[in-house]
């Protein structure tokens, strides 16, 4: 199961690298985040891991949100 | 104890007089009598003196005291045959005296002198490398051990020739009218001690006399070895005259050239030390 998450995370990362436009990279970032958050839970099944996965997920979502908003406010494109 | 100090002071001042005389003779002038510096000092000591209003008073006075203290302590070290490293430390602290004297009064000339003394901090570096070399050869920095070593193995002058050259350069850079004495060049009146007059000037003259004597004495003790008092004094005199010859024959370098020459010397000696340390 962990392998699925890992492969999807890697796939997401590769798609990020291949995508040209910055805004359209962000959905792939989201895919990668899902994969990594799932992977974290599979690596170490422990109640605290849930918090770690949530923290990672929320943190990177916040990051993506901030980047997208900054691009929107800056360029208007 | 005190008599040693007084004697050394007068000897140093006398050496200064000889120095001036030799230079004058080489340059074809009659020159002042050789006791001129002693008379100078005595005259200054009797003069009326005060502290300038704009000066930083504590530094102005304390630095004179410190300069006397440093060289007295250095003489004591030589007599009690303590650590050479401590002597080196006291010598380096002399830099502070120059700097402090220059800064204490608000005078720009004195400050220029002080700043030149700062930038020529490189002149201490040869001494550092020569101390390290001596330690490498003798395995000790106590003056008594160095004397013992020389009593067995002959003068260090031969074995540690680069160190001797370095110390010679250091003395040369501290002597008046020399190629490296940029801190008291004539374009900045008389350098860092322009503003010290009266008793202060007299005391400093005395301290500098002591300094000259101590430096030359150190050279003889460290590189030639224990040869008895009369011979030591003779060696000091010869050394002083060679220094005077150098001073008379060379022009004064421009400030940064002087720094560069001193740094290069240090670098060469450092390379020699590393060579000794790694391959020997």
């Amino acid at each position: 199961m962990g392998a699925i998450c890992l492969i999807i995370a890697l796939y997401g990362a590769i798609r990020i690298v291949l995508e040209r436009e910055t805004l359209l990279k962000l959905p792939f970032v989201n895919v990668m985040n899902f994969g990594i958050a799932g992977l974290i839970v599979f690596i170490l099944p422990h109640p605290l891991t849930l918090v770690a996965a949530a923290a990672y997920f929320v943190g990177s979502t916040l990051e993506a949100n901030a980047i997208a908003s900054a691009i929107a406010r800056r360029g208007g494109k | 104890m005190i008599e040693y100090i007084i004697a050394a002071m007068f000897a140093g001042l006398l050496l200064h007089g000889i120095h001036r005389k030799v230079i004058a003779r080489i340059q074809g002038r009659p020159g002042p009598p050789i006791w001129q510096e002693i008379l100078h000092t005595l005259k200054f000591l009797g003069k009326e003196s005060w502290i300038p209003k704009t000066a930083s008073q504590g530094v102005y006075v304390a630095v004179v005291g410190i300069s006397i203290a440093i060289w007295t302590a250095a003489l004591m070290l030589l007599i009690t045959q303590e650590s050479l490293l401590l002597l080196f430390a006291l010598y380096v602290l002399h830099k502070i005296v120059e700097h402090g004297i220059g800064l204490a009064s608000g005078s720009p000339y004195a400050k220029f002198g002080a700043i030149r003394s700062v930038v020529s901090a490189a002149s201490e570096l040869p001494l550092l490398s020569s101390v390290a070399l001596i330690y490498l050869i003798t395995g000790s920095l106590m003056l008594r051990d160095i004397e013992a070593y020389q009593a067995i193995n002959g003068p260090l002058l031969i074995v540690a020739f680069p160190a001797a050259v370095a110390l010679y350069l250091v003395i040369l850079s501290k002597i008046h009218y020399g190629p490296f004495s940029i801190v008291e060049a004539k374009e900045i009146v008389s350098g860092y001690w322009t503003e010290h007059f009266g008793v202060w000037r007299g005391l400093m003259n005395a301290a500098f006399g002591l300094k000259t004597f101590v430096l030359l004495y150190t050279f003889v003790v460290v590189f030639i070895g224990p040869i008895g008092l009369p011979l030591t004094l003779l060696a000091i005199l010869i050394l002083m005259i060679t220094l005077s010859f150098v001073c008379a024959a060379t022009p004064m370098l421009s400030p940064y050239d002087s720094v560069t020459v001193q740094t290069l010397t240090t670098g060469l000696i450092a390379i020699y030390i590393i060579y000794l340390g790694v391959f020997a």
């Binding site: - | 204490a104 608000g106 700062v118 000790s140």
Partner: protein
């Protein structure tokens, strides 16, 4: 006490846990000088500068702001105590920290002048002092890794410290103690405060003296 023939006899030691500062003849002499200079910095008035207006007899005194003097006086005293620590400490890493403290107080003393050139000098010096932490801490780390200890007491006379570490230690102290050259070149003449500027020079010279001793001892 390690009885090496370098710096004279040991007078006494002051244990602070793993860090054992010691007074030998050498370091006690240096410490005495440091105390004198701390006293000078603490109680002396800075000099006042006279500016002559050329073409006339008039001159005026530059006025000194009380606040500026207070700051640089405080920093000079702090620098003095840092120097005292650097001279007395018996531990390599502690020595490097004291060296860094000397460096940063030097920056502070220089930077308390408002002049643009002087601030520029403070900045340039600060950059050198900052990159000097690489050789400083690097030397401490290499010494710790190769000999397993940082205490000068244990290291003394062992000869186990590699040449690389020694060279880096010297280089690091050079970087922290390079301040006098900067203040010399910058127009420090216009900056006030002989006792404080003196302290910069004094502290870096003492750092050199101390590092010479350390390099010879370890």
């Amino acid at each position: 006490m390690f009885d090496l023939n370098i710096e004279g006899a040991e007078l006494f030691a002051l244990p602070f846990g793993d860090i054992v500062p010691y007074f030998s003849v050498y370091s006690a002499t240096l410490a005495a000088f440091v105390l004198i200079f701390i006293l000078i910095a603490a109680f002396d008035r800075p000099e006042r500068q006279l500016n002559i207006i050329f073409g006339g007899d008039a001159f005026y005194e530059k006025e000194i702001k009380e606040g500026d003097t207070r700051f640089s006086r405080f920093m000079a005293i702090a620098c003095g105590f840092a120097t005292l620590g650097a001279v007395l400490t018996g531990d390599i890493f502690n020595f490097t920290l004291f060296a860094v403290l000397v460096g940063i107080t030097n920056i502070a003393i220089v930077a308390s002048a408002g002049n643009h050139h002087v601030l520029n000098a403070a900045f340039q010096y600060g950059i050198v002092a900052m990159i000097a932490t690489v050789p400083l801490f690097g030397a401490a780390a290499i010494i710790l890794a190769t000999t397993g200890t940082l205490s000068i007491w244990t290291l003394a006379g062992m000869g186990a410290v590699p040449l690389l570490a020694k060279a880096m230690l010297i280089l690091g102290v050079m970087g922290e103690g390079i301040a006098p050259l900067y203040i010399g070149k910058a127009e420090i003449i216009r900056a006030q405060g002989a006792p404080f500027v003196l302290m910069i020079h004094f502290s870096s010279l003492l750092l050199f003296l101390r590092v010479t001793e350390i390099v010879l001892v370890i």
